[in-house]
């Protein structure tokens, strides 16, 4: 058990690891190919993977797709939103 997981930091693809207070959470994404209604009201409910949109508002202003494990609180992956996956 170590403290390697940086839960109060997110690693911005442009700016590197930055404190959470620079980022703003927007939403948890809907299932893929959702209808406009589902896009607003449906969410993937997976205890081990939450895909979220965040913005590095007080930094480079990039929009990010953040994969988190809500059970452990750890951040799994961070990509630029809109970039090819």
């Amino acid at each position: 058990m170590t403290l390697a997981t940086l839960q109060t930091r997110l690693t911005c693809p442009f700016c590197g690891p930055r404190h959470l207070s620079e980022f703003v959470f927007h939403k948890t994404v809907a299932p893929p190919n959702a209808s406009p209604f589902a896009e607003v009201y449906e969410r993937i409910d997976n205890p081990n993977l939450s895909i979220e949109h965040w913005q590095h508002v007080r930094g480079c202003r990039s929009w990010l797709r953040v994969h988190r494990n809500p059970s452990s609180g750890s951040v799994l992956e961070i990509h630029l939103l809109g970039a090819a996956i």
Partner: protein
Amino acid sequence: MSHRDTQAATRVGTRIANKSIKFSFDGQEYLAQSGDTAASALLASGVREMGRSVKYRRLRGLLAAGPEEPNALFTVGNFPNIIPNVSAPQLVLRNGMALRSQNRWPSLKWDVASLLQAGGGFLGAGFYYKTFIWPSWKTYEKLIRNLAGLGAAPGVCSLSPPKIMYASCDVLIAGAGPAGLAAALAAARAGANVWLIEREPVVGGELEFEASEIDGLPGAQWIAATLAELARRDVKIFTDTTIMGGSSDLIIAHREAGGIAGNNAVYRMKPRAMVAAMGAVERPIAFVGNDRPGVMLINAAEKFLARYGVKIGHELVLFANHDRVYAAAARLQAGGMRIRAIIDTRLTASETIPLRGDLMRSGIHCLLNTAVLATIGGNRITGVKIAPLDAPHQVRTLACDSVLVSGGWSPATAQLTQSHFIAGAEHGCLELNAALHDGYTAGRTAAQVAGKTDLSGTAPRGHGDLTPSLMPFWRSPSDPIREKYQFVDLQNDVTVADLRAALAEGFNDIEHVKRYTTLGVGTEQGRTSGLLGAGIVAELKGDPLTKVITSRERPPYYPMTLSSLAGLRVNGALRPTRKTALHQWHESNGAVLESMGLWMRPRYYQANGADAFTAGIAEARRVRSIGGIIDSSTLGKIEVAGPDAAAFLDTIYLSKASTIKIGRSKYMVNLREDGMVLDDGIVLRLADDRFLATVSSGHAEHMLSHFEYYCVARHYPTISDIRAVSVTDVTESWSVIAVAGSTSRHALAQVLGNEWLAKIAQLTHMDFAVGLFQGHDIKVLRASFSGELAFELHCRPTHTLALWEGLVAAGLLPYGLEALDILRVEKGYLVSSEINGQTTPFDLGMDGLVKQKNTCVGRELLNRPAFHEASRPRLVGLKAVDGKSKFLAGAQLIGSLAPRPCGHVTSTVYSPTLKEWIGLGLVARDYALGDIVRAHDPLRSGNTRVLLVSPVHLDPSGARMKSMSRAP
């Protein structure tokens, strides 16, 4: 009559300097020894009554000797310089300190509210929810809030901000009792950089009174030797410091020396590993009248004796469910207190306690399988009722002046989520040697996690009090009607009867029980009451305790002074202030400024009236007759450029931007994905591939993120092909001056110069022209926020003042937000009270915009049937039926069709042009224009009959705004 009772308590040999200091409690002077806490000094002076409970106002004394104390919370100082809710056992007295008890009026002895309770028994859990609902909770709120809980807020904020320190270490150890000290030894010996945090002013925990021997030394000597070794190994020790919370890589600790705010410090620590060894908190047992002053935890009595030499009473009855009570009894007896009886709820005590035999031989009744059923006496205990558990009706009475109780220990588990290792009593090791071993192991493993490999050295070995051999016992048997006197949470007056009521009402989960009864919600945060309450709930439900568990603990784990939480973010440093280029001018010309988000904007100019109401009316009247100017620089401005700019804007606006011609602008509306209106503004087409979108001042930052999001949010179908677009915030690159009124063309030509004359004359509604002012870029947009002929000047901040002063010289005087509000309500223009996130374009009368064919964010969801029901609100204008009554925004509208409100008033102003109060409101569609409803506003303007009219109160044809009158 004084609280002092010379019989009640005295002091034996003392460990603190025998120097007298003076303090006062509820206006009476007392003496204390230096080093005394408020609790120890009052006890030594014979004062037992230290406060009243929050709900029933029952007289209360000390229960505990630490921050878990539920009753003795004092207000320190004289108003307005007071600090409320200071825990008496932690407050170290200083000469001249003035203390006051809380929750009582007019005095601690005589409290009016307690008399209200005396007649007909108590108000149980849920009483407030069920009783004070007619006509509404609001009616009673003020009275109840005045009666309700804890100390008053200070009148001034005189505390200096805390020191804030950032630091990192290898191993952070919370708690410096035997386990914490052993952990620190292990980690430091392994070479780790160790920080040891202790909330008491001294280290050692219960070694302070426990008869102990460690590594051949008496406990106190072992502590001294350990501290010497830790100092040699550079271990930093923080006393008076409590860990308040944090995440796994950031721990927040708070230092408040002497138990009161003053020289506070906040530490933000980044340890590589953390050991929690914060011990366990003794909990009481519930029995009838267990809240009388004189009922105290056994640990507390031992601590007052050992640390302060204070005898908490003369004739004690001890009541417990474990073996430790016998060792405690022997020490209290040695301290000079007479023990009448030891009441043990278990069937047998351990055979290994020779102590019990000694105690019996010295004349103490040691009763097994027996419980204290109730205390007897008035405000003071005169005795207890006891009975065998297998024959609860064989009640006997024992005379005593104090009852010491212990129902076991609840581990201080609050930090478990942050900690990697738990040790000592918090980990269930209640025997000294086990705690030392557990602590040492945890400290060594933590050092290993922090990368240390030298793990030589052995754990200290010791022996102290025996393992408690505890048998769970939560409450004494009681007649059901007496359960309302069996207190579980003393601070909030939660009784066994309340817990039973909560379960009967269907609040099954412990979290629901907590919220319904207020169990453990006070400053003691369930430290003495949490597990006890859970144990009783389990018993009442017939469930195992493991199924009930305790409610979740949340930070801060101990009461924390608000000034420490605020840190340096006070007054001017609370948040930044944004100023427009004209800020200085406004200030030196008598503007009264108002904050709008982070911006400061003129509300009115003092030259026009003594207050906002009269000045606003004067300014609005002048705009309608001559004209005026307003600094609108706070308007959000976003430039959108690139080959895909038009297609992008089509996607995020309800109507099409791509049809706007260069040099033209359009009023446009953004929707949220769920179809509600998000914002509105004017979009200017600067070039084929370049637009300037204006957004509401208050929404500007959010709207910028919104624009940026849809540049990259690929989930939105029409956006997936749009890539060649860039979004830039130009809010601070352009100042905006709005010029309105019939003379505005003339004034503009005068200031901008003759070359602008023709340009301005040619501008039709929503056209704009670009050019130069004093050699710098300027845009002149013909658009109106007031319903008058009006222009919006976009100019460079460096040249704003010259332009502004020129306009003032040309006869156009400035107006503020107050007048702007009058002008826009007269015309039915919208602001955030109408665009409130709950209104659709249909609700706001934007059906025309929806008709335009355009696929945009939020459009699909506009088709939901509920958006078209008769109960949906619609924007209407409002005016008093009698033509003169005042009504205010926020009033509920009540019509003839149903007794419940059909809508509400969103904005009102007094219109100097129409000479009456007018407003805008949102009203259900089944009401038609011409209907009369009541604006119900019982707390302010009362009940006004209002008529539903068109939202455009003034000049519905728009003749003033479209005025083609040529400039002279």
